[in-house]
Symmetry: C2
Subunit: 284 residues, 2 copies
């Protein structure tokens, strides 16, 4: 088993990886906020296949949390994260501090404008600016050739693809399918916030999405308004969840579409259980 090299200082991480690039190696990076679970393992395993050097970054990025969000209570599990990185053959674990990433006087932000204001961007207006900023920094620090993200965060993945293309990052963005619990709930570090009752109700997210998929694939229903209404009704009937959004959108622009366009449509939702907000999505 590899012992990952832990690096905390961005300049040092960059120097080490520039040296690897000069030696002809390719770099794959898996950016995470830690609290690694089986979903992250899948991302890391994909990264292992994609680059000579595999870097996992663990950074609970403050700029992507809103003022009333869960930055302080977000789980930090470094020892367990390190163990998973060891098991998955990670070469470098980049684990910076807030002050190393955003020193005094920090002032630069990267923003992908319209796409960041839709879906999750409505209730989290500064979230995706924080994501695109930190990922730009991580791409430059790690000199990434390939970066791996989960489809669980579909909006994030699509925004990062747009950002990488727009800014000419020489980075291939790879999306990995969502990993689910046996009952269908998408894995998320935020699932741990749920009470037992909420946890059992939360299966309604994947059930509602699965029903949309069935109605489309088996019954050829393509009317977004109808499919949305059925899903809303189901969530209201089967859970105490409060829907933040449930949208049928273009994967390219994230704008709502009236009818499903095969291969180009994302159905995405966010539902609150108490103060815990869960997201999920399917692609049609």
């Amino acid at each position: 088993m590899t012992q990952p090299e832990i690096v905390r200082e961005p300049g040092l991480m960059q120097q080490r990886l520039i040296a690897q690039k000069r030696a002809g190696k390719t770099v794959a990076v898996v950016p995470t906020m830690g609290a690694l679970h089986a979903g992250h393992r899948r991302l890391i395993a994909e990264g292992r296949k994609r680059g000579d050097i595999l870097v996992v970054t663990v950074f609970v990025n403050p700029t992507q949390f809103g003022p009333n969000e869960d930055l302080d209570k977000y789980p930090r599990t470094f020892d367990s994260d390190l163990e998973i990185c060891r098991e998955e053959g990670v070469d470098f674990l980049f684990f910076p501090t807030d002050a190393l990433m955003y020193p005094q006087g920090y002032a630069t932000y990267v923003e992908t404008r319209e796409m960041g204001k839709r879906l999750c961007g409505i209730s989290r207006p500064t979230h995706f600016c924080g994501v695109t900023t930190v990922v730009s920094k991580l791409f430059l620090i790690t000199q990434a050739d390939v970066a791996v993200f989960g489809w669980k965060d579909a909006q994030q993945l699509l925004i990062l693809k747009r950002m990488a293309q727009d800014l000419n990052f020489p980075v291939e963005i790879v999306g990995v399918e969502t990993v689910r619990e046996p009952d269908g709930l998408a894995l998320s570090s935020r699932n741990h916030y749920l009470s037992p009752q909420q946890r059992s109700e939360a299966v309604v997210l994947s059930k509602a999405l699965g029903e949309i998929q069935r109605r489309y694939q088996e019954e050829h229903e393509t009317d977004s308004a109808l499919l949305r209404q059925e899903a809303f009704d189901r969530i209201a009937r089967d859970s105490s969840g409060r829907v933040d959004y449930l949208e049928v959108v273009s994967m390219e622009t994230l704008e709502p579409v009236g009818r499903i366009v095969p291969g180009k449509t994302l159905v995405a939702l966010a539902v609150y259980f108490g103060t815990t907000r869960l997201i999920d999505n399917i692609r049609l």
Copy 2:
């Protein structure tokens, strides 16, 4: 004399330079909007000393022009620019189109927030966002190790240093002293817009700055308000120019300072002659 290779397509330019980097070469880039003059020659000569491979970019970047600015009438002199690049030993001339840099659906912007709102940012509120965005793209396309900019555009240079540091660009930003006409007027492509009368009056910019420098260095006057007032009075007395701003600021934050701090102070001004806006500055 070298014949520079002209490349128009960003992806191709990036591929060519990634190959050079893999072969162990360093890349110096001089980003310009073309209309190259003796000031640019100085930047290019500096770039020639700093990198194995020298890239000059020529792109009149639409995102850094405001809606009522001079984008359409900005001089385009490609044949002469190419000749200067040939004389100065440039290896690659990157000369993209607007549509190649900002294709349909383009949505990503880089912004260095507070610094971009001061000085020129007051009358040109979107200008520096356009600059930081296009320079981020150019750094990534050219895989720059070193980038050369003129102190003529001091605010731009200081913002780009901040941006490169904040986003962890592995790029050294080099500033080159302003080149001036015999009477002191800083070289600028926009000087060609001036009438003969305006051209002769425009010397007041460098004269006013020179007088501040003399008052500080010889008479040890450090009071920003007093030095500013004297410069305002001189410009009003000796020209028909309308002052857009004349500020004594910190080089680190661009915030006004009450007294000159040795080695850390920028005196910057912008003056309109008719519709032509000229800028100049000194460092104290």
